[in-house]
C-alpha cells in the first residue's frame, strides 16, 4: 500500500475506533465513578452509560448519535512523505468514514444552514500541526460533540484575581453548565498566552490520557484541587445530582502578558472520544490510545 492510501486508511479506522470504543483510561474512570457514586439517580445514569459503552462496542455502532465536529491533531516529523497532502487525505478519510461507519453529517454552513452531508466543510476537519523529531506521523482523531462544546468558555481575568479568580470562574461555569455537557465530564483548563492560545491549551488538555501525569508538580496539585472543588458542587452525572461531576480536570498553561490572565475552560462529555495512532516511515502502524489494536 502506498503511504497516501495508508494514511487514509488509518484515519478512517481511527474515526471508527474513536466513535465506537472509548479509550481504556476513560472506561476505567467511568467504572470507578459508578462504584463510588452515592446518589441513586446518579448511579442509574452511570449504569446507563456503562451499558451503552458495552452495547456500542458489541455492535460496532457509534456510542453517541452526535459523532461530533471532527478535528485532527498531527505530530509529524518534517521528513515524512506527503505532508503537503495530509489535509486532502484526511478530508477524503472523513467523507469515507461518514458513509462507512456511519457518522452523522455535522458540518453546516453558518449562513445558509446547509449541511454538506459529508462532515467536510470550510476549515472542517480542522488540523492542528506540530512538527517534531522522529520518524513517524502521529494522528489523533477528536470527534467532539456539540453539547459539551457549547459549554466551553473563555474569560480574560484581571491578573490581580489570579488563582482564586480562576477557581471561581471554573466553578461558576461548571454550575452554570449543569447537566448540559453530559457529566461526568473531562474538563480542560488553558491558562495564559492570548485568548486563542488559552483555548487551544484547554483543548490540548482534554486530549491528555487520564493516566498520564502533568510533568509540573504545581499543575498536578492545582488539577487535584480544582477537580475536588468541581466534584463538591454535587452537580453529578447528567446534572441530576451526585458525587461525580468530572472524571478529571487537566491543565495546560503558557506564560502570560503582564496585563492579561486568560483562562479557557473546555468541556469534554463522558463520551470522551479520541483515538491516536502512529505511522512509521517503514509503513508499520501502532495504536497509542487503544492498546494492542491492529489497524490494517
Amino acid at each position: 500500500m502506498n503511504t497516501e492510501r495508508l494514511i487514509e486508511k488509518v484515519a478512517v479506522n481511527l474515526l471508527r475506533l474513536a466513535v465506537t470504543e472509548l479509550p481504556p483510561d476513560v472506561k476505567e474512570a467511568l467504572k470507578n465513578a459508578y462504584n463510588k457514586e452515592r446518589s441513586q439517580i446518579g448511579k442509574a445514569q452511570l449504569k446507563a452509560i456503562l451499558d451503552n459503552i458495552r452495547l456500542a462496542e458489541e455492535k460496532g455502532i457509534p456510542l453517541c448519535q452526535d459523532t461530533g465536529l471532527i478535528s485532527f491533531y498531527i505530530r509529524a516529523c518534517s521528513k515524512f512523505e506527503h505532508l503537503e497532502r495530509i489535509e486532502k487525505i484526511l478530508q477524503r478519510a472523513v467523507m469515507q468514514a461518514t458513509v462507512e461507519i456511519p457518522l452523522r453529517p455535522n458540518a453546516l454552513d453558518p449562513f445558509t444552514q446547509k449541511n454538506t452531508n459529508n462532515n467536510v466543510g470550510r476549515h472542517v476537519p480542522h488540523i492542528h500541526w506540530s512538527i517534531i523529531k522522529g520518524d513517524f506521523l502521529e494522528i489523533t482523531a477528536l470527534p467532539k460533540g456539540g453539547g459539551s462544546e457549547n459549554m466551553c468558555a473563555l474569560r480574560m481575568l484581571k491578573p490581580a484575581e489570579g488563582l482564586s479568580g480562576l477557581k471561581r470562574f471554573i466553578l461558576e461555569r461548571v454550575v452554570e453548565a449543569g447537566g448540559m455537557p453530559c457529566p461526568p465530564t473531562i474538563i480542560g483548563v488553558g491558562i495564559g498566552g492570548g485568548s486563542d492560545i488559552a483555548m487551544e491549551l484547554a483543548k490540548m488538555a482534554i486530549l491528555r490520557p487520564l493516566d498520564e501525569r502533568h510533568p509540573d508538580d504545581f499543575v498536578v496539585q492545582l488539577e487535584q484541587e480544582l477537580l475536588e472543588a468541581v466534584n463538591k458542587t454535587g452537580i453529578g452525572p447528567m446534572g441530576l445530582g451526585g458525587d461525580s461531576t468530572a472524571l478529571a480536570l487537566r491543565i495546560e498553561y503558557a506564560h502570560r502578558h503582564p496585563a492579561s490572565y486568560p483562562v479557557a475552560i473546555a468541556f469534554q462529555c463522558w463520551a470522551a472520544r479520541r483515538a491516536t495512532a502512529r505511522i512509521y516511515a517503514d509503513g508499520s502502524v501502532e495504536c497509542l490510545s487503544h492498546r494492542d489494536r491492529s489497524f490494517l
Binding site: Q40, I41, A44, Q45, A48, I49, D51, N52, L55, A56, K59, I61, P62, L63, C64, Q65, D66, T67, P102, L103, R104, P105, N106, L108, N115, N117, G145, G146, G147, N150, L163, K167, R168, L171, E172, V175, G178, G179, M180, C182, D216, D217, F218, Q221, L222, E225, A229, K232, T233, G234, I235, G236, M238, G239, L240, G241, H255, C269, W270, A271
Partner: protein, 210 residues
C-alpha cells in the same frame, strides 16, 4: 430521593403526568416524535401562519433528539438516538406545549423557567434520558414510522418512532413546578463560597523552560 417506576403509553393523559414527581422513573411505549431547534422554529412558524403540521403532538412524547440513521433498502434503521441538549429549545417549548398538547418532553440537561411554567399550567413533564447513551436508546426503538421535514437534514428532521419501554427516563421537571436541575444547582451555589475558600495549594515554583 425515592425512585418510583411508572409505565406510560401514548397518548399520555394529563391525569397521568400530574401524578409524576421529580426523581420518578418512566418507561414509555408508543409514539415518540423528535424535534430539535430547527424543527421547533418551523413548528412555531407554521402555527403562526396557521398551516397544519404533518404530525400530531397531542398527548405525545416529544423527544429532543437528532438521531443517527441509515437507509437500508428503502427502510430507515436507527443506529444511535440519544437526547440532545434541551436548553436550545427553551425559546419555543412553552408555546409548543400550549398550542400542541405535548405531555412529555424527553431530553437532557433540563429546561428553563418559561417551560417550567408552561408545564405547570398545562400538565406536562420533562424527563431526562441519559445523554450519550444513544445505542441503549436505539435498542428500544422498534421502528421508524415515518420522517417529516427531511430537508432540515438527518439530525434536524422530525422522526416519528414507535418505541417499546423506552427508558429509564428520570423526571427532571414535574408539572408542580419542581425542577431537579434547579434544586441541584441551588445546592451547588449555596456551597460555592465554602468550596472556594478551602485550598491546600502550596506555593508554585518558577517553570523550567525546555
Amino acid at each position: 430521593m425515592r425512585m418510583r417506576e411508572v409505565e406510560l403509553h401514548t397518548p399520555i393523559l394529563e391525569g397521568e403526568t400530574r401524578k409524576l414527581k421529580i426523581g420518578d422513573r418512566i418507561f414509555i411505549s408508543g409514539t415518540l416524535v423528535t424535534a430539535r431547534d430547527a424543527a421547533h422554529k418551523r413548528i412555531m412558524k407554521w402555527i403562526t401562519e396557521k398551516k397544519s403540521l404533518p404530525f400530531s403532538l397531542e398527548g405525545s412524547a416529544l423527544y429532543h433528539c437528532g438521531p443517527l440513521v441509515r437507509k437500508v433498502e428503502e427502510k430507515w434503521i436507527v443506529l444511535a438516538a440519544g437526547p440532545t441538549t434541551s436548553m436550545r429549545m427553551e425559546p419555543f417549548e412553552a408555546d409548543v406545549i400550549k398550542n400542541l398538547g405535548v405531555k412529555l418532553i424527553i431530553g437532557k440537561g433540563g429546561m428553563g423557567e418559561k417551560t417550567r411554567d408552561a408545564m405547570k399550567r398545562y400538565g406536562a413533564v420533562y424527563g431526562v434520558f441519559t445523554g450519550g447513551a444513544a445505542v441503549l436508546a436505539a435498542e428500544h426503538i422498534e421502528k421508524v414510522v415515518r420522517v417529516e421535514w427531511l430537508d432540515l437534514g438527518m439530525s434536524d428532521a422530525v422522526w416519528i418512532f414507535e418505541v417499546k419501554r423506552f427508558g429509564p427516563i428520570t423526571v427532571g421537571m414535574d408539572s408542580h413546578g419542581r425542577s431537579l436541575y434547579e434544586e441541584v444547582r441551588s445546592g451547588a451555589l449555596g456551597r460555592l463560597n465554602e468550596i472556594l475558600e478551602h485550598s491546600t495549594l502550596k506555593n508554585p515554583k518558577p517553570t523550567k523552560l525546555s
